[in-house]
Symmetry: C2
């Protein structure tokens, strides 16, 4: 190596010894003719000293060094002068007096400071990603990611899981997003899809008898981007044979406990709470509940439907629901102004309003609308919501979906505003038994709620022909602090039943055969029951480090237009290249789009 030591390792035991160090020049300082430089590499900082009384020539060269030059220097390790030691630094007791300059690679002035304190613009950071990645914080975040992935791999390897690489050039997969596609040169007019996940291949691997599979899999989705989405992401893709829901949840608990202990020295309590989808929707109005605090919801449609309050009455008449969020101990805590703010928040989220009542005494409610509710109804509301004296009840009344959406947001807002959420805490839970289908009003058909390959519950199969909306499944989600970490399920291993599912979701026999024929065929040759999940690694490693934007844990992310600002991908292709691939640009469309952009 061109160096004898890294910039993070010299200490008192190397005193008087020779050392050759390589690294980047950070904060060069001239103190009365003596030049001090913090030399930086991935491992740390070492102070190096250019002293004209020690070596004139070397000192002269030292004067020319600027920020971010890469230099290799030879010198001797010595104590820092008294009072100059830096306890915070691993190498803070020593410095290296430079005898010789071995090599220099000059840097032009960097457009962003390599310093954790200074934040450049998003655009500058992405364009000069190599400078941004020099920051200690970014380096630590990517090292954390690396170590987390190692920890996961070791854990699964010990449990006899096998990592198997599945192809990137595949047939289309039926995930929620658009596929990226790749024109084939040798098969004119045909295209590969890039995997949105290895879903189908891992099912095939179970049919092939691999029993326990995982993969740190690269997944690509052509979506319109948000802060927590990237065209590419990495997921821990996993599948097990002869497994039931419990086996996957237990495995998850063990894995998470181990990873958090190893990486953060945090003891995560297991088992994690489990809610069925219906419980979660009822109590938290959402299928990924933040259970770090305790405000619960309850549906009161049946209780209030006959009360004199016209708003509720009308909603119920139109098939809507009335639901209560119990803001515990908030009757006094929240001023009238604060309640009004909550109401306008709810309105911004699409609600028409937000009725409220305070619990003032046993079985007694107080508010400007209480007069419309009989004592009996009041009593029943209090019973149903489990409210206690001093609690504030917030009422949502509208279509079910909207009520749940708004109340879940109001709930989290209150949790945050009232400081009920411990931001250092990770509280995990599982949500199980999701419905299979969701009615799509616009398209007038049943859509798959989640994974089409999920096994429906046997006891619900009689709804197949009559009411597919009532079919529940062996699907489970894994949630932490209100964020979904994975979705998984026991898979449908009965090809005839799987085909029926596709048909209910409106796929023609022809389409099913064309897209999934080979998979249905594969299930005819003997398949074990199997289950698995796909856990988002970007999200997990960001979350573990208290980071919101997953781009902070990805070395080379794209911006919100799916562009890499550093290398300007995507870029134009040669005509020759397109010709070889048997495609042409749709010129009219391209030009039109460009014009739109200009406008």
């Amino acid at each position: 190596m061109l160096r004898t030591h890294t910039c993070g390792e010299l200490g008192e035991k190397e005193l008087k010894k020779k050392a050759v160090l390589g690294g980047w020049v950070q904060s060069p300082r001239d103190h009365g003719g003596v030049i001090f430089i913090d030399l930086r590499d991935r491992y740390g900082l070492t102070q190096i000293v250019f002293d004209p009384s020690h070596n004139k020539e070397v000192h002269k060269a030292g004067e020319t060094f600027r920020r971010e030059d890469v230099i290799i220097v030879e010198g001797h390790v010595r104590h820092r002068p008294k009072g100059m030691t830096n306890e915070k630094l691993k190498t803070g007791a020593i410095e290296v007096l430079v005898d010789k300059i071995v090599s220099v690679n000059k840097a032009v002035t960097p457009p962003l400071d390599v310093d954790d304190r200074v934040e450049a613009s998003e655009e500058t950071r992405l364009k000069y990603r190599y400078l941004d990645l020099r920051r200690t914080k970014m380096q630590q975040q990517l090292m954390f990611r690396h170590k987390t992935i190692n920890t996961i791999r070791q854990y699964l390897n010990e449990l006899q899981f096998i990592e198997i690489e599945t192809p990137l050039l595949i047939k289309t997969t039926p995930e929620g997003a658009r596929d990226y596609i790749v024109p084939s040169r040798v098969n004119p007019g045909k295209f590969y899809a890039l995997p949105q996940s290895p879903q189908i291949y891992k099912q095939i691997l179970m049919i092939a008898g691999f029993d326990k599979y995982y993969q740190l899999a690269r997944c690509l989705r052509d979506e319109d981007l948000r802060a927590d989405r990237q065209p590419e992401h990495t997921q821990l893709d996993l599948e097990m044979s002869f497994a039931e829901v419990d086996d996957i949840l237990l495995l998850t608990e063990g894995l998470i406990k181990h990873v958090f202990k190893t990486m953060l020295d945090k003891d995560i309590k297991t088992p994690f709470k489990r809610f069925t989808y219906q419980e979660s929707m009822e109590r938290y109005c959402i299928d990924k509940p933040d259970i770090r605090f305790d405000f619960f919801c309850a549906t009161v449609t049946d209780i209030v439907k006959d009360a004199e309050f016209k708003v509720f009455k009308d909603v119920v008449a139109q098939g809507g629901i009335v639901k209560v969020l119990n803001a515990e101990k908030c009757a006094e805590k929240l001023s009238r102004n604060q309640i009004d703010e909550l109401i306008s928040f709810a309105q911004k989220e699409g609600a028409k309003g937000l009725a409220w009542m305070k619990v003032t005494a046993e079985n007694k409610l107080e508010s400007n609308i209480v007069k419309f509710f009989s004592n009996d109804v009041q009593k029943k509301i209090i019973e149903k919501t489990g409210a206690k004296i001093g609690d504030l009840l917030l009422f949502g009344a509208d279509k079910e979906k909207l009520v749940n959406d708004v109340l879940s947001k109001v709930r989290v807002k209150l949790g945050n505003d009232l400081g009920l959420i411990n931001k250092e805490e990770f509280v995990f839970c599982f949500v199980t038994d999701f419905p299979m289908f969701d009615w799509n009003d616009e398209e007038n058909r049943w859509d798959f709620c989640h994974n089409p390959f999920t096994m429906p519950k046997k006891e619900d199969l009689h709804f197949l022909e009559t009411d597919p909306g009532k079919i529940y499944t062996y699907q489970y989600d894994f949630v932490v602090n209100g964020t979904e970490l994975f979705s998984g399920s026991v898979r449908n291993t009965i090809p005839e039943l799987q085909e029926k599912m596709f048909r209910i979701a409106g796929l023609s026999e022809h389409k099913v055969k064309e897209r999934f024929g080979f998979l249905l065929e594969a299930y005819k040759y003997g398949a074990p029951q199997h289950a698995g999940f796909g856990l988002g690694i970007d999200r997990l490693t960001a979350l573990m480090q208290g980071i919101h934007d997953i781009r902070e844990v990805i070395a080379f992310p794209k911006n919100k237009s799916a562009v890499s600002l550093m290398d300007e991908a995507p870029s134009t292709a040669d005509d020759k290249q397109l010709k070889e691939l048997h495609i042409k640009l749709d010129v009219v469309k391209v030009e039109k789009k460009h014009e739109e952009k200009k406008e």
Copy 2:
């Protein structure tokens, strides 16, 4: 779990205990009314017994089981009858008497036998890959791959290397093959390239200060396929900062030694032999020599150019060379017929012929052409080739490239035919100091011999303007048994020099800027010297298992038309999809191609 044990673990210590097993039915046999089935999973085979005298109903069900049905059964472990134990099997001492059938997933008759002894056609194996992968051999091969990759990761992690994922949707990379490209929906008319390797990103990571990087990287190349090529492959991509050639070679030796010891319990001797490119070409006529045996070559152009032999004279006059392969101890070993066969082999490989001489006594040669060579010339030939009495000298005379090509093949053929090669042995070597450029006669320009980002040797830089063909570099190849395992180099960290290299290779200033501008820019902000390599994992893991076809160590390979026979990828795309992507099929071209195929 739906089972209590796997099919590979029951033994005498579980005698009389209850066991629930799940697996695939293998070779059901009816022995006098009692049914025996080998139940198979990834972990092994267990014999299960359906005895009508024990349980009539269960026996009756047992009669219906066919090959590849998946069943879960509950039973009790018991000794096999005397004389019926199977020593070869982990579970060979016991069997499970079935009490209860828990579940059954029927299989239709499989189109290929799940049996290592039977080889189905390539096409059937790929189409029904899930059945092919059930074979113990295939499972072991993929498990071997998994464990090898783990071993590599552990080794590198301990050396403080960090695995960093680089993007799949990138800008074009300048490797030897065509890029696969991906149309962008949100950036009309633009395309991503899929990485042929993470080359540019790992260089950026070194500029970013990550110091020691690796990645088990997925690489995609749109090539015309051969047995050892796939559109996708996996490489151990690695790069180190402040490193010299020696550091990389030492690291490689350590890594290989460790991997072979761990995986195969083989002690690989280090250090590996090193040859410069020129030495390797001179001695072995190839830059990836098989050094498991000792036949050497030597150039004798200068020695024979004035001899009376017209063939040699003409070749030399036209700028060709004359080179000798010394087939040691072959003067007697090879009959005249065998020599004639060698000659026609050489002719098939493109040579006009293959002159030969036997060393019959000190400084004495014998053959039908010896008369054209003076005693002095004969003496010099013997000296130059180091030939001894009993050796056979084979002469190639033609253009340099052709001579080397043919003699290297003749050499390996002799090694194989004469049994000089120990097929169990792995003999590694490094070839270093490759040339930078190669003259391309057809295009009338200098091409990069290998990686354009390689650092040229300082002492050769004066040839930049005068004779780029004489510039040698810090490139090194890693070779085992005549197969290249990796190519790597110290990279060019001087942006002006890198730009000059591109210009010599005929790229215009504009093209350089467009394609590599961002990289050249990045090198201006302070870069450490760095070096690395990309090691083919498919090839390595195949080779370690004595397998020639890399498809045997890839779960889902493509065939030679880059088609996945199992799922029929690539396939057609919707018009809607193409419209969104701003592309059209080049209909004329597609139709033409289809017609060609039909013909």
